[in-house]
C-alpha cells in the first residue's frame, strides 16, 4: 500500500474538488492533457473529453454515475507509438483501467505515455437510465446521496446497470493513483492513494496533505463485495441454465440483428475490421440455397450465433466485464450476461484475470507443457 | 569378504622392473578394465579377503607385499570361468597360478606352508614317476607338523581301505622322472 494523501472538499462539493485536482495535474510540467468524463449539455450523463486548458475543467464530472462508453479505446489512440511530449493523465473507472492494460498487452497502446488515475467505482446506470437520474442533471444532493450509498441500494426507483451490480472489481488497484470514495464522506474529503512508483512521484509533486486510511474504506468494500459476488453467482447460474444447449443459446440471442454494436462498444475487441464484415461472410446465392434446401427453412440473417461464438472465442480471456456490450445493444439482448459468464470460466481455467497485471502474458500466447492434463490424459 | 574401507595410505612406488616375477604377472593383467566380471563369476569369491579385481588393481600398483599377505590366490581352484568370460581376454587363472609360485618363492612362512601341499605332491611324483597317494599323504602330514590334520582324513581313509582303494603303490616307474626334474631345475636356475 503506497502513501496516502487527502483531497480536501470545500463546501460539500466533491466534483469541484476533483476539478481542482485535475487542474493541479495539468499544471505539472509532465502532464500535457487530462482525459476525464465531462457533463453533456442537455440530457445529462458524461462523455470522455481531452482537456488541455486548465480553465476548461468547469464541467468535468468524474463522479457522475454515467458510463456511456469505455474510454480505454480512446486512451490507446492517444498513447500508441512514440509519445508526443508529455503524458496524458486519464481519470478512468477500474474496468476502463483493466481494459486499457489488456490492450497494451496487444501493443495497441503503451502504459509509458499515460498516468492512470482510477476512481473507486460505485457503479453507473445504463445509458437509458442515465438521463432519468436527477444526480446526472445537476441535482448535487441526489449525487451526494448516490456517492454515500457506496454502490448499494436504488436511486429514484432505479438500480445501477446489472454489469456494475455484479462487478467484483470496484477499485482500480492497477492504476498509478486511486481516488478513494468508499467509506468516505464525499462532502468532507476524499483520499488519494499511490499504487506505483510513478504514482508516488506525482503525489509528492502535487503536495497534497498526508492522510491515513482509517479502514472505513475496507469495511465498506467488504460489505459491497459480498453483495456483488452473490449477485454474480446468481447471474452466472441463470445464464448458464439459459444457454446450456444450442437451442437455448439461439433463443438467448434470437433478438440479435447482426448490427455488431456490441463489438464496436467492446474496449478489448481491437480488430480494425471484424472478419464478419469482410467478404468471408458475403455468401454466394448458391450457398444460401444449398443451406435452405438442406434444412428446409433458413433463419435470416445467418451467422448470428456464429458471430457471438467467434467473439467469445477471440476475446473471452480479455473481457473485463464492463457491460458496454449490453449497454450498446439496441434490442436488449443480454450480451453482458453471456460474455461475463463465459469469460469467468475461461479466465479461471487459464488461471488468468484480465487487466490484473501488465506483465502477465495473455494465456493463448504462452505454451505450458503440462496443462489441461485431464484433457490430454497427462501424456504429451 | 573383508571390505577394506579402512583407508590404507600408501605411495605407489614407480614400477620397478628388476622384480622379474612381479612384472611378468603385471603384464598378464595390465589391460584389465575393472569390469568385475571375474569377481562375479568366481565360485570361491565369497571366501576371499581381496576380490580378484582388487588384487589385479593392487598388482598394477606394485603393492606386492599386500597381495602376498592376502589368501585370494590360494583359493583359486583353476576352474577357468574367469579366463573364459574376461572381455579383455586376460589369462587370469594362469596369473593366479603364477601368484602361487611367487608366494612360494618369496612369501612369508604362512605362504610357504600353504605351498607345501603342492611341493610334497611334486616331490612324490619326482620319486615315483607316478603319484603314490598313500606315500604323498603321509609325507604331507609330516611336513605340516600338524597332528590334528591326519584325523580329518581318518573317516575317508577307512572308507577307502574298506573298498580296497588304498594301494601301497606300484614301483614300476620309480625314479623315471629324476633326470627330467633335474634338467628342469637346472634350466630354471639358469634363466
Amino acid at each position: 500500500m503506497g502513501s496516502i494523501a487527502r483531497i480536501e472538499v470545500t463546501d460539500g462539493n466533491p466534483v469541484a474538488a476533483l476539478q481542482g485536482f485535475c487542474a493541479r495535474l495539468l499544471a505539472d510540467g509532465e502532464i500535457s492533457a487530462v482525459l476525464a468524463p465531462r457533463r453533456l449539455p442537455g440530457n445529462g450523463g458524461t462523455m470522455p473529453a481531452l482537456v488541455a486548458d486548465p480553465e476548461q475543467f468547469h464541467d468535468v464530472d468524474p463522479l457522475a454515475p454515467s458510463f456511456r462508453l469505455s474510454a480505454a479505446r480512446m486512451l490507446t489512440r492517444l498513447t500508441r507509438g512514440a509519445d508526443e511530449g508529455g503524458l496524458v493523465a486519464a481519470l478512468l473507472r477500474p474496468c476502463e483501467v483493466r481494459a486499457f492494460i489488456e490492450l497494451c498487452k496487444l501493443n495497441q497502446g503503451s502504459l509509458e505515455n499515460t498516468l492512470l488515475v482510477s476512481l473507486d467505482c460505485p457503479g453507473a446506470f445504463t445509458n437509458a437510465d442515465t438521463g432519468r437520474f436527477s444526480g446526472n442533471r445537476g441535482n448535487a444532493e441526489a449525487l451526494l446521496g448516490f456517492l454515500r450509498a457506496d454502490g448499494r441500494g436504488d436511486f429514484d426507483g432505479m438500480q445501477i446497470a446489472r454489469a456494475c451490480r455484479t462487478c467484483e472489481h470496484p477499485t482500480g488497484a492497477e492504476a498509478d493513483l486511486s481516488i478513494c470514495l468508499f467509506g468516505q464522506d464525499p462532502a468532507k474529503g476524499l483520499l488519494l492513494m499511490a499504487n506505483t512508483p510513478r504514482g508516488e512521484g506525482f503525489m509528492t509533486r502535487l503536495g497534497l496533505p498526508e492522510a491515513s486510511d482509517d479502514g472505513a474504506r475496507a469495511k465498506a468494500l467488504d460489505v459491497l463485495l459480498t453483495e456483488r459476488r452473490a449477485a454474480q453467482e446468481q447471474m452466472f447460474a441463470e445464464t448458464t441454465a439459459a444457454t446450456s444447449d444450442m437451442s437455448g443459446l439461439s433463443t438467448f440471442l434470437s433478438a440479435c440483428v447482426n448490427c455488431y454494436n456490441c463489438r464496436t462498444a467492446c474496449p478489448v475487441c481491437y480488430c480494425k475490421e471484424c472478419v464478419f464484415l469482410t467478404d468471408v461472410f458475403e455468401h454466394k446465392p448458391w450457398q444460401y440455397m444449398s443451406w435452405a434446401r438442406q434444412r428446409g427453412a433458413l433463419k435470416m440473417p445467418t451467422d448470428t450465433v456464429f458471430f457471438h461464438l467467434t467473439r467469445l472465442a477471440h476475446m473471452s480471456t480479455a473481457c473485463v466485464g464492463c457491460g458496454q456490450c449490453s449497454n450498446a445493444c439496441p434490442n436488449d439482448v443480454p450480451v453482458m450476461e453471456l460474455f461475463k459468464t463465459i469469460a469467468a470460466s475461461t479466465q479461471k481455467a487459464f488461471d488468468y484475470e484480465a487487466g490484473r497485471d501488465p506483465g502477465e502474458a495473455p494465456p493463448l500466447s504462452v505454451f505450458r507443457e503440462h496443462e489441461f492434463t485431464e484433457l490430454t490424459g497427462g501424456l504429451d | 569378504m573383508k571390505n577394506m574401507h579402512t583407508p590404507i595410505a600408501f605411495t605407489p612406488a614407480p614400477l620397478v622392473f628388476q622384480d622379474e616375477a612381479l612384472a611378468e604377472i603385471q603384464s598378464m593383467v595390465r589391460a584389465c578394465m575393472q569390469c568385475g566380471t571375474c569377481t562375479a563369476s568366481c565360485p570361491n569369491s565369497f571366501a576371499m579377503d581381496l576380490a580378484p579385481r582388487q588384487m589385479w588393481r593392487m598388482l598394477l600398483f606394485g603393492l606386492k607385499q599386500e597381495v602376498l599377505e592376502s589368501r585370494t590366490f590360494w583359493l583359486c581352484s583353476s576352474c577357468y570361468s574367469c579366463t573364459l568370460r574376461c572381455p579383455r581376454g586376460l589369462p587370469l587363472t594362469a596369473a593366479m597360478a603364477a601368484l602361487k609360485r611367487l608366494a612360494a618363492a618369496e612369501g612369508d612362512a604362512v605362504n610357504r606352508k600353504k605351498a607345501l601341499f603342492y611341493q610334497e605332491f611334486m616331490q612324490n611324483v619326482e620319486q615315483n614317476g607316478r603319484i603314490q597317494e598313500m606315500g604323498f599323504m603321509c609325507h604331507y602330514f609330516l611336513a605340516m607338523h600338524d597332528p590334528l590334520l591326519p584325523l580329518e582324513y581318518g573317516p575317508l581313509g577307512l572308507k577307502l581301505l574298506a573298498k580296497g582303494k588304498l594301494h601301497l603303490g606300484d614301483s614300476t616307474q620309480r625314479g623315471r622322472l629324476g633326470p627330467l626334474f633335474a634338467k628342469v631345475r637346472s634350466m630354471e636356475e639358469a634363466s
Binding site: - | 612360494a104 611334486m122 614317476g129 603314490q132 627330467l180 634338467k183
Partner: protein, 291 residues
C-alpha cells in the same frame, strides 16, 4: 578306431573302477586302446603352482612317448585334469614360438623330442562325437528305463579350451544318457566347479561348492562324472557337506557298462563309496525288465 590310452595316476589307484570300466566299455564298442608304454604323471593341478616349465615338460614327455610309440593315434585321456595339462602344451606352443625349444631342451634329458603331432581327446569327446549315441544304443541290452541321471562335466574338460561342448551350458553327455534309455535330469550345475584341490587345502570352501551341487541334484537317482577328482569330492564328502540323503556318483563308463549288461568285475560298482540301495533297487528293476 584305435587310440593311444593314457590312464593317469589316479586311475591306477583310487579310481581303479574308472580305468576298468573305460577299457571294458570301449572294448564292447569296438574301440581299440593301446596303453602308452612308460607313461608318467602329468602333474595334475599341483604342478602349475610349483614350476611353469615343469607344467609343460611333464605332459610333453607323455606326448613325445605317444608320438614315438603309437604314431598317428590320438591320445585318449579319461581324467579332465590330465586332459587339460596335455592339451595345454599344444595350445601354448602355438601362441609362443620360443616354448617348443625350451620343452625339447628339457626332454633332451631323456633323449625325447615333442613335435606337436598328437591330438589330445577326452573320453567324453570320443564317446560323444567319434562313437556316437547310435553305436552306444546298439550295445544296450539292459535299458535303464526310469533312471534319472544328472550329467556332471566338471571344469577342465570344458574350459578354457572349448573343443567339443559349450563351456557355459554343456550338453554333450545328454544324447549318450538317453541312448541308454535313462532320462536326463534337468539342472544347470553341470559346469560348476567341485572345489578340486581346495578339498585338501581349504575343505570348508570346497564343501560349500559340493553342497550346492548336491542340493541341485536332489531328485536325480545318480550323478555321472568324467573326472576322478570330481567323483571323489562329490562322493566321499557327502556327509561332511551335511547332505541329507546320499546320492551315488558313478563314472560315465560304469553307467554305460550297466546298460551294456557288463559283469560286476567289469564295472567294479562295489568300488564306489556311495552305492545307495535306492539305486541298486532301480538297477535290479531295469535288469528284470530287460531280461
Amino acid at each position: 578306431m584305435k587310440y593311444a590310452y593314457y590312464p593317469g595316476c589316479s586311475l591306477g589307484t583310487s579310481a581303479e573302477e574308472y580305468d576298468v570300466s573305460t577299457r571294458e566299455v570301449l572294448k564292447r564298442l569296438g574301440v581299440e586302446l593301446s596303453e602308452i608304454p612308460d607313461w608318467t604323471c602329468c602333474g595334475a593341478s599341483a604342478v602349475e603352482p610349483v614350476s611353469r616349465l615343469l607344467t609343460l615338460a611333464l605332459p610333453a614327455r607323455n606326448l613325445a612317448l605317444t608320438e614315438r610309440e603309437c604314431p598317428g593315434l590320438d591320445m585318449l585321456v579319461p581324467c579332465s585334469a590330465c586332459y587339460l595339462n596335455h592339451l595345454r602344451v599344444g595350445r601354448e606352443c602355438a601362441t609362443d614360438r620360443a616354448l617348443p625349444g625350451r620343452i625339447n631342451e628339457a626332454l633332451g634329458a631323456e633323449g625325447l623330442s615333442y613335435a606337436g603331432k598328437v591330438r589330445v581327446r577326452h573320453l567324453l569327446d570320443v564317446l560323444a562325437s567319434d562313437v556316437g549315441p547310435k553305436a552306444v544304443a546298439a550295445q544296450v541290452s539292459h535299458s535303464l528305463e526310469g533312471l534319472s541321471v544328472a550329467p556332471y562335466y566338471g571344469c577342465q574338460a570344458l574350459r578354457p579350451f572349448a573343443l567339443f561342448d559349450d563351456p557355459e551350458h554343456p550338453r554333450s553327455m545328454e544324447p549318450l544318457i538317453s541312448a541308454l534309455g535313462a532320462t536326463v535330469f534337468g539342472w544347470d550345475m553341470g559346469g560348476r566347479c567341485c572345489g578340486a584341490s581346495l578339498m585338501a587345502t581349504r575343505r570348508d570352501v570346497a564343501l560349500v561348492s559340493v553342497a550346492a551341487i548336491l542340493d541341485a541334484a536332489a531328485g536325480a537317482d545318480v550323478i555321472v562324472t568324467v573326472c576322478p577328482m570330481c567323483q571323489m569330492n562329490l562322493e566321499a564328502y557327502q556327509s561332511q557337506a551335511h547332505h541329507a540323503d546320499t546320492i551315488s556318483v558313478l563314472y560315465l563308463p560304469q553307467l554305460l557298462g550297466l546298460a551294456f549288461g557288463l559283469s560286476d568285475e567289469q564295472t567294479l560298482l562295489d568300488k564306489n563309496l556311495a552305492m545307495t540301495d535306492a539305486l541298486k533297487g532301480k538297477l535290479r528293476a531295469c535288469e528284470a525288465a530287460s531280461a
